[in-house]
Amino acid sequence: MQRYSGFGLAKHALSHHENWERQWRNPTPKPQYDVIIIGGGGHGLATAYYLAKEHGIRNVAVLEKGWLGGGNTARNTTIVRSNYLWDESAALYEHAIKLWEGLSQDINYNVMFSQRGVMNLAHTLQDMRDVQRRVNANRLNGIDSVVLTPEQIQEIVPVMDCSKNARYPILGASWQPRAGVARHDAVAWGYARAADALGVDLLQNTEVTGFKIRDGRVFGVHTNRGDIEAKTIGCVAAGNSGVLAKMAGFKLPLESHPLQALVSEPLKPVLDTVVMSNHVHGYINQTDKGDLVIGAGIDGYNGYGQRGSYPTVEHTLQAIVEMFPIFSRVRMNRQWGGIVDTCPDACPILSATPVKGLFFNCGWGTGGFKATPGSGHVFAWTLAKNQAHPLAAPFSINRFHTGALVDEHGAAGVAH
């Protein structure tokens, strides 16, 4: 692998940047691998990378029906934080943030992780109580988290309407300084390049159409490019997880919903942090390029169409304009949807399944981008040892029968 560096950039400038190596190979599928990962989004690619790097399992294929990172990985609003309420989820997301902090060095790829802070606003007394409770829980878990007053908020975000007569008055907020945003494509590409360098085969345009199962044990998959065998298979297919589970003969407690986002034309710097409001369901930040990135809520109905409904976008923009009157004349450039796999307790599923050898990593719903490195890390461990990683153990699919849910819904400002 050609290492990236400032020196390399200068050297390649001399040859007009025409001699860069391809970032990864385009191999033909082998008939058999030790491990198959289904889904070439951030989570699947991270899983493959940590399998190769930490567990020495390099005979691995990632099967992606489209192009790498073309699913929710490329469609999200890139917010990264770990200030979740419950111990189990806080531990998992904090594990991810610690990996984020060294990720660019680890995979020699600039993922532009920018710890510019994330603010979760409170607009009602109940919001405020929830914020206080969550901040206290965070601090007990060693996560940087503070409660801000409206005056402090106004100082950090001068362009937000924090006046008492605002349509959605701002009573306070939680604030995590180590939270922020990262460049989503770079995360997929960086993990892909690093995994490829360790020998992982990245197979694009390869769609899994069925499983080969004998005596309750998986031993391969059918794809549009022929059958491929492996005794351990990890399925990381986000919104399409339910479709794959059905192929394997069981159900997941997931529903797939469209979730939308939009970006504006580039502006001069005006917002240097991330502002989220669960109550009015809008969240916003500004990219280094200058676009405002705005996220909406999910559409209430199930859908696989990778587009969402107009009323949902309108609702979000109404809230954004109320909070930021200065943005009322900004033009939007693009709008899109991704299909998120929502789970009843708003927590992921990292789990063995009724089929031996087949594991699922899904249910991240509207908020899994932030977990990408941590999810890949603990899932690789789980696949390599055929045993749940301690951080993954509470997220077994069994919880929907035992009742031991990790109920982040409504508690964690769970939007993203």
Binding site: K251, E255, S256, Y304, G305, Y310
Partner: protein
Amino acid sequence: MFHIYCPYCEEHREEEEFHPKGQAHIARPEEPEACSDEEWGDYLFFRDNPRGIHHELWVHAVGCRKFFNITRHTVSYAILETYKMGELPRFTAEFPEGSLSEKVTTEAEAMSRQEGVKA
């Protein structure tokens, strides 16, 4: 934007008047106390999530406030039919086109629905 026919109001109205309420035709177990953990968990949390034809419960929230069912395709988002509580769908994953005799009923009903709109 969906244009949804409410089988009670007998009118097409805009999506914003309605709320989706998840999978249709889920029967509450007769004796919850007699359920195993598996059965109760399945009832509470496990849903059909098809890529294709899906039967959904909706409520006409700012209209008649009644619940009814919609058969909808989850990729094209096309609404194939709406029907009252207690009725059965004509369009299903097994019969995506509906059966022949049923088609006639559908057409006849479509006519009467149009009249409903005019009225």
